[in-house]
């Protein structure tokens, strides 16, 4: 029961946030960037401004809704990059073995010894702020676990009968990796990917908060919190709502990821009578 709850509840949250983000223009009646009006600054939540307004009189509700586009883009795209890198390195390392495997394993260990947020920070330092840099920075720094899982399952799948059979049939290495090995590890990779998306969204918020990610005036949940810190005493709503948005999105992804893992790997304990 709990298993299905995680999967359904998490999935529902993700779906709702995705819908709100994609169809944001339908739900708001203030432009998130242009409708700045200092006359409206720091207004508490009201019928017109559901989540209140920020220091420049912009509608927090519409900024939160539009902000989901950036968070979701960062989450999805950067995690896709991570998964591709991890799969590419992991499968090839497990499949070919030898020197290449040693190199990849070494690289993975080095990657794991640098806290990923700090690594991303370093890359942002070089590339400068912006959405593109964020996607690259977060996409290059969180693939180690995917790589490890992919490597170990490629290693064990390699010796299985049907992969050997495919080899004797004269299938090429690339074809075997894509058609025989990859499909068999899709489950765990999806789980790591879902949880990784949550990490990426949290990292984006942190980097943007530090002023290294998305720059104002574009609405990102993280950068909204940067502004909000200064006026937390007068306009707490400007801090509360973007934070709740981050929390709900990541919670949805985490629940969905947990549910997916339980679904794929039911931890059934059989008791002896």
């Amino acid at each position: 029961m709990r298993l299905r709850f995680n999967l359904l509840f998490g999935g529902a949250i993700c779906l709702i946030i995705l819908t709100l983000g994609v169809f944001a223009p339908l739900f708001v009646h203030h432009d998130p960037i242009l409708d700045a009006n200092l006359m409206n600054a720091e207004l508490p939540p009201s019928a017109d401004f559901w989540f209140g307004t920020d220091s420049q009189g912009r509608d927090v509700f519409s900024r939160v809704l539009y902000g989901s586009r950036i968070s979701l883009t960062v989450g999805i795209v950067s995690q896709l990059i991570n998964s591709c890198i991890g799969l590419l390195f992991g499968i090839s390392a497990g499949y070919f073995g030898g020197r290449w495997d040693e190199f990849v394993s070494g690289l993975t260990n080095v990657m794991l010894s640098i806290p990923s947020l700090i690594f991303a920070l370093a890359i942002m330092a070089i590339l400068g702020p912006g959405l593109g840099s964020l996607l690259i920075a977060l996409g290059l720094t969180n693939w180690s676990w995917t790589c490890r899982i992919a490597r170990s399952s490629a290693l064990s799948l390699k010796s299985q009968g049907y992969v050997q059979a495919a080899k004797t049939l004269g299938y090429g290495d690339i074809r075997i990796m894509f058609t025989q090995i990859l499909p068999n590890m899709i489950g765990p990779i999806l789980v790591i990917g879902t949880l990784g998306m949550g990490d990426a969204i949290l990292a984006e918020a942190a980097l943007s908060y530090l002023g290294l990610g998305i720059r104002p005036p574009f609405p990102s949940w993280g950068s909204m919190l940067t502004d909000a810190r200064e006026l937390i005493a007068v306009a707490p709503w400007a801090a509360i709502f973007p934070g709740i948005a981050i929390f709900l999105t990541v919670l949805g992804l985490n629940l969905f990821g947990d549910g997916l893992r339980d679904y794929l790997d039911p931890h059934m304990r059989t008791r002896k009578a």
């Binding site: 794991l112 010894s113 640098i114 690594f119 942190a206 934070g243 990541v250 919670l251 629940l255």
Partner: protein, 300 residues
């Protein structure tokens, strides 16, 4: 550990060497992005940036071996000094956060595991997954609003005189994620051990619950818990950067963030290297502890 350190320093060096344009030009550029070629040349010379990459890496490593991380572009102080100055506050913050996480997370996970499916268990696990989904700096911001600005119980930011009052808010904020993860791991580890055959044996010996738990259950669960603690230090150090910035805590993290925005590359390199070194030291300690607890490791 040494090869990893070398690899990490190479990686960091490479990343900062492939940047388009030179630091110096962006460092001394005026408001319109122009700069005086003569000044750039002079600065490049001063920091050895006119030499070819391999030579620079060579001298970087040689200096590193002598614990010399170069000098800051900005303050011209030796980087090592700047880092050492900032190391203690960060260490204090990280250790305090981890101690809070262990002291609360482990017992919580343990109690939850005793009655799986109970109200307490369900509540704890929902709280744990929520704790892992929260942006910690946001939580810190709210805590600052409530406990410092509204109630006035604690100082809202800064290091103060280095006492405990200034430490509480940042440390508690930073402890949330490791606490949540430890509660989850402990619960899973305890449940795992509880169903083990040797626990049934121990019960058949007629021992009381206290002895069963301390001698047979906890020791075995500890192996898993300690691994989590070690791994968590990495992301803890990452999160510390944001929390330090939020609470204006004068540690490595805020130094790193400031140096990144100033493009003070030697300091950035040094700070990252220092954080990695720490993480590696802690993981080595964890490995040693692991071998102390689990004879299967040390005896092969």
């Amino acid at each position: 550990m040494i090869p990893t350190i070398l690899a990490v320093s190479l990686l960091i060096f490479v990343i900062f060497s492939v940047i388009p344009g030179s630091f110096t030009s962006s460092l001394i550029a005026d408001g319109k992005g122009r700069n005086d070629p003569k000044v750039v040349e002079q600065m490049n010379k001063e920091f050895g940036l006119d030499k070819p990459v391999y030579q620079r890496f060579g001298s970087y490593i040689i200096n590193l071996a002598q614990l010399d991380l170069g000098q800051s572009f900005r303050t011209r102080q030796p980087v090592t000094h700047m880092l050492l100055e900032r190391a203690w506050p960060t260490m204090k913050l990280a250790i305090a956060a981890m101690v809070i996480a262990i002291l609360i997370g482990v017992p919580l996970g343990f109690v939850a595991a005793l009655k799986p499916g109970s109200l307490l268990d369900t509540t704890t696990m929902i709280a744990a997954v929520s704790g892992l989904s929260l942006p910690q700096f946001w939580l810190g911001l709210l805590a600052m609003y409530v406990f410092a600005l509204t109630l006035g119980w604690l100082p809202s930011f800064g290091y103060g005189d280095g006492g405990i009052r200034n430490l509480i808010l940042p440390a508690v904020t930073l402890s949330v994620a490791p606490l949540a993860l430890l509660a989850r791991t402990t619960r899973a580890a305890v449940l795992d051990v509880m169903s083990a055959d040797f626990i049934r044996t121990a019960r058949s010996k007629g021992m009381n619950a206290y002895r069963l738990v301390t001698w047979h259950l906890m020791r075995n669960a500890l192996v898993l818990i300690i691994t989590t603690v070690g791994l968590q230090f990495g992301s803890l150090m990452g999160q510390a950067v944001v929390i330090e910035k939020l609470f204006s805590w004068p540690g490595l993290g805020s130094l790193l963030v400031d140096s990144v925005s100033m493009r003070d590359i030697p300091v950035v390199q040094g700070a990252i290297l220092m954080i990695v070194l720490w993480f590696l030291i802690i993981n080595t300690v964890v490995d040693v502890l692991y071998a102390v607890i689990d004879p299967r490791i040390s005896h092969g």
